[in-house]
Symmetry: C2
Subunit: 456 residues, 2 copies
Amino acid sequence: MVERLVVIGGDAGGMSAASEARRRRPSSDLEIVVYERGGWISFSACGEPYFVGGEVEALEDLVARTPEQFADRDIEVHLFHEVTAIDAVNRTVTVRNVHRDVEFETPYDDLLIATGAAAVRPHIPGLDLEGVAFMRTLDDATALRALIEGGARRAVVVGGGYIGVEVAEALTRRDLQTTMVTAGESALEGAFDPEIGDRVVARMREIGIEFRAGLTAERVEGASGRVRAVEAGGERFEADIVVIAIGARPTVALAEAAGVPLGESGAIAIDDHQRTLIPGIWAAGDCAESHHRVGGHAVNIQLGTVANKQGRIAGVNLGGGDERFPGVLGTAISRLCDLEVARTGLTEAEAADLGIEAVTVAFNSRTAAGYWPEAERLHMKALAEVGSGRLLGAQIVGGTGAGKRIDAFAMALWNGMTAFDLVNVDLSYAPPFSGVWDPVLVAARELTDALESHTG
Amino acid sequence: MVERLVVIGGDAGGMSAASEARRRRPSSDLEIVVYERGGWISFSACGEPYFVGGEVEALEDLVARTPEQFADRDIEVHLFHEVTAIDAVNRTVTVRNVHRDVEFETPYDDLLIATGAAAVRPHIPGLDLEGVAFMRTLDDATALRALIEGGARRAVVVGGGYIGVEVAEALTRRDLQTTMVTAGESALEGAFDPEIGDRVVARMREIGIEFRAGLTAERVEGASGRVRAVEAGGERFEADIVVIAIGARPTVALAEAAGVPLGESGAIAIDDHQRTLIPGIWAAGDCAESHHRVGGHAVNIQLGTVANKQGRIAGVNLGGGDERFPGVLGTAISRLCDLEVARTGLTEAEAADLGIEAVTVAFNSRTAAGYWPEAERLHMKALAEVGSGRLLGAQIVGGTGAGKRIDAFAMALWNGMTAFDLVNVDLSYAPPFSGVWDPVLVAARELTDALESHTG
């Protein structure tokens, strides 16, 4: 008998699962139906800031595959179809056709929840004014670009995370006078330790972004239905555009209503096969929880890398295979013009929160041999556990070529290496690429020294 | 009682050992004396092609530390002092002061042989003509640069390895009409599989280097004591400069004469603490053997990375510590203008030679998201063992930002990961840096498919 897989949400988690399941089971064995409440599937949310900034010209460039391409593989995609309820007992979902405003019920054998995450809306007045923008969906990005091209001159970005920083750069590229206002102490707070964030702040200021820390947005002020200013921490910042980028939360209301348990991160709890605790219901992507391999704690990482991988694992298992999702490291990379920032594992603050006693090192290095004329600066911070020497995490900030080096460190973390193990790893070297001791190895050497003097 | 460490050779292996030993034992406990037969210590041989090409202006830039700096740390360095004999029974060495042509004997408690490697001199006539150059020492580089600046117009590089390719680029930068002649089938033969080498050849031709494969140099022809042409494979190539770059051999005559056994690679056999088989005698760097972690075989890798690491390990153990050298992967990187080439582990040819049954994948990818305007091309080849799925090696060739990605793969190899393990590793992603599946992860996915279809 043909089984039926229903997927809720057509971005990375959902479509990766659908693709992988189809690769393993033909349509004579498994019907696959995707309901997406918006008008786009399989798009790169991470690419949106560059569309806003104009580096990526066409919105379509951000779409990896169209519904037609999925149809060719017998994956049925319904755009503008929102799943409004799950009946986990009878294994049906209620679907609303958003355009025609009609609802219907449809059965499933297996259900994958891949509802993603939604931008956090602060509880402040004025969010409905024209000129207020969010950055989550392609429609958000389109709206923001239209505002820019409509002649806006001053922008305020509320929030200092990855998206805030990337959007601030994009606005500056578009010649808007841009201010970033954050409640935090520095940029990229939470993702990076503050002294790393401060380097990003310094670069933002160099490119003309006004950065203001420690200010909580209280109100968006308007006139004639249009944004005029943001009030934050008692100060007033004039603006034609206000981008709210204070983070995103996993979209779990539908799952919760159906009795699907959440985990301690607030995202949907899953086992290592992407199964929720309710039979027949699976979850993947930004709405689902992950296990942090270094900290051992539950996390909700809203990144395309994790969504794609979780989706693939769900698809393998829905497709009759048997593969477990081995967890995450919290690896991430971003860019502010030519300044690259990257992280993996735990920050110093995260290690402290988890009660892990760590030694920390920080040092300056280069992306090439010291004598190389085009060597870019690179600053690296790394930590290891006192006693065991187990590597815990690293952060890199620097010029072109600095950021991707985090992957070598991520790979070391993944394998549970100690700082002592890492020192001797045979990494590549030639003068245009690094010193003879690559910065990742320098980190290991500094950590072993710190560990030894901590013991001694 | 003060012990005495004598180090033969003042480059990476020797000076790393001396530094590390000194860090651990003060001069009241350990006297350290270095004899270097040339006029330079602690220099970057890898940087020489860039000095020749003029990208690095001053020769001194290639020197990491001077004898004076070592003297400040109570490490005694004697330039132009060649060790001509080792008496392993009485623990003495015979040293010749090259300038004054006098010899003396001096005792040691421990002796580190760090004599490096020397350029292979082919058995062909004409090598003593003016205009024939080698590329090994700083003096070689200086001589070649002088020849270029003396008005040479045509150059022939004999040999197609890393140094040959890097020198050919340097000569082209200096506006010399340059021909590369190699006995091999492609460039970088041995280090890379031929189809990767062919991409380097294509780039060489684009920048105006004439590349001729399958031709063995038979004779350097001169007139009035100066080079006029090279004859190879029955053809004649006119030249004002002939650079011989057909590889290097470990400098082991001194060790052999003293009865220090060599390993199967032809380099000095050592245990995992850098001890030779003769009590009190150690070896590190280009003259010493290494254990290949993937192939399990003995290799002689003449790279600064390995020399520095072996030297450090020797220094740790000479300094009273206890650390083993865990082997090598044969990781390496090079550059031809903006084309980066990198490798780690085994090539397809090496795996075959070792009798390891492998699946191989090769694919094109990019250094950024597909839609990213400045994405550079990247071609990757990777192999894994049939049955176990154990990763065996990878080669990358591509534009700026491609090469250093080899380090993530190297780290995976180092930890003995399988292709199945590698698929899910949490590497960094943002559109300016890679697709959501980093090329290293794409390699893993392609390998798992190849492994599965091989089994099936």
